[in-house]
Symmetry: C2
Subunit: 214 residues, 2 copies
């Protein structure tokens, strides 16, 4: 499937920000956190926060707020982040390397177990603690890596060929950082990351501030 | 403002994908494109596509669809991408370098005119055609660069100090790739890019496929 239809997608996209704040609250020794505090911290409406958090099944108590420990556990469980996910990075260029070094992923149970690249200068090196192998080794190595998730950061014109090899070798979840729509079998989930979306938001906010009048 | 409330945010986030497809259609010589074709291409519902595109003020014609040329112009105008935006990149590490080389940005009128970094190994080099200067030069150089947008890709613990310098030097729009919430004056718009959001989506889609039953 190119893109599964997921209800609550905007809420799901906000859950990592909630998790970040609630974990901080836990680290400070709090037992409860109020929806209003979370809302202020993220500049959201309190009603939005309550609605978003309700998808995890946890409801706040009047006056006390949400039980911190249970809320962290519920968000992690909802996202499946209570279990580890092994992933490979394909394409160890600037973006792939940046993703290997992105510190938050480890907190989400995402473990990058290997990277693959065609560039002989990269092959054999370690990037942020991740070993880079030649793409030719993909099929041989993948079964031993216990990884079914691939982070695709190859040049866009290699994306489709690359994803076909990945799927044939056992990958069933692809985080696609290329600008290509990928054709994949139904069993494969694909999340495309389009950095232009964020720039669209920034551009519109700039115009609103400058008085476009939205 | 930490994050301006923007109505239609999910629609705005999808506009770049529409623009990509509609420009391809224009390049193929089409005069009209149907909402259904766009929907299929992006795996969305046609009604969603119509609703999203209606924010640009363009309405499709029955049987014919949308006039391609007018739709491209309307989306670009809505996003402010019909005018160039000069931006600087602050932090020329892996992520900053990847952003300097991201090919789509140029098509959106986003021109990265300079990069700043503290690392002496980076200073003085060109990355993807962008000159890297020492961060100490920021205040001196910014007025001449005609840039009011900064792409922030420094280590997270430098983010707040860095944004304060940027704002004092004339930056009023920040695309924040760190995981820090930034405290900025009201006149400054901030768009935070949280890569964990995409992983949250991928994780939930994987669970739905594997039968969690959402």
């Amino acid at each position: 499937m190119a893109r599964m239809k997921v209800s609550n997608a905007p809420s799901i996209r906000r859950l990592p920000s909630y998790l970040h704040i609630i974990r901080q609250s836990r680290a400070s020794g709090d037992f409860y956190i109020s929806g209003t505090v979370i809302a202020q911290e993220l500049n959201l409406e309190p009603i939005q926060v309550r609605k978003d958090l309700s998808i995890t099944g946890i409801v706040g108590k009047p006056k006390k707020g949400y039980p911190v420990e249970a809320l962290v556990a519920a968000i992690e469980r909802y996202l499946g982040w209570d279990r580890p996910t092994n992933a490979i990075v394909v394409g160890a260029g600037n973006l792939g390397s940046a993703l290997m070094g992105y510190p938050e992923f480890q907190q989400h149970g995402l473990k990058i177990v290997a990277a693959f690249d065609q560039n002989p200068v990269k092959v054999g090196t370690m990037i942020h603690g991740v070993q880079v192998y030649h793409t030719d080794k993909l099929e041989d190595m993948l079964p031993g890596l216990q990884a079914h998730t691939a982070i695709l950061a190859v040049p866009s014109d290699h994306a489709q060929v690359c994803v076909e090899r990945l799927v044939a070798a056992g990958i069933n979840a692809v985080w696609n950082f290329t600008n290509q729509k990928l054709r994949t079998p139904d069993k494969v989930v694909v999340q495309r990351e389009d950095l232009s979306s964020g720039f669209a938001m920034l551009s519109v906010m700039t115009q609103i501030r400058d008085g476009r009048g939205d």
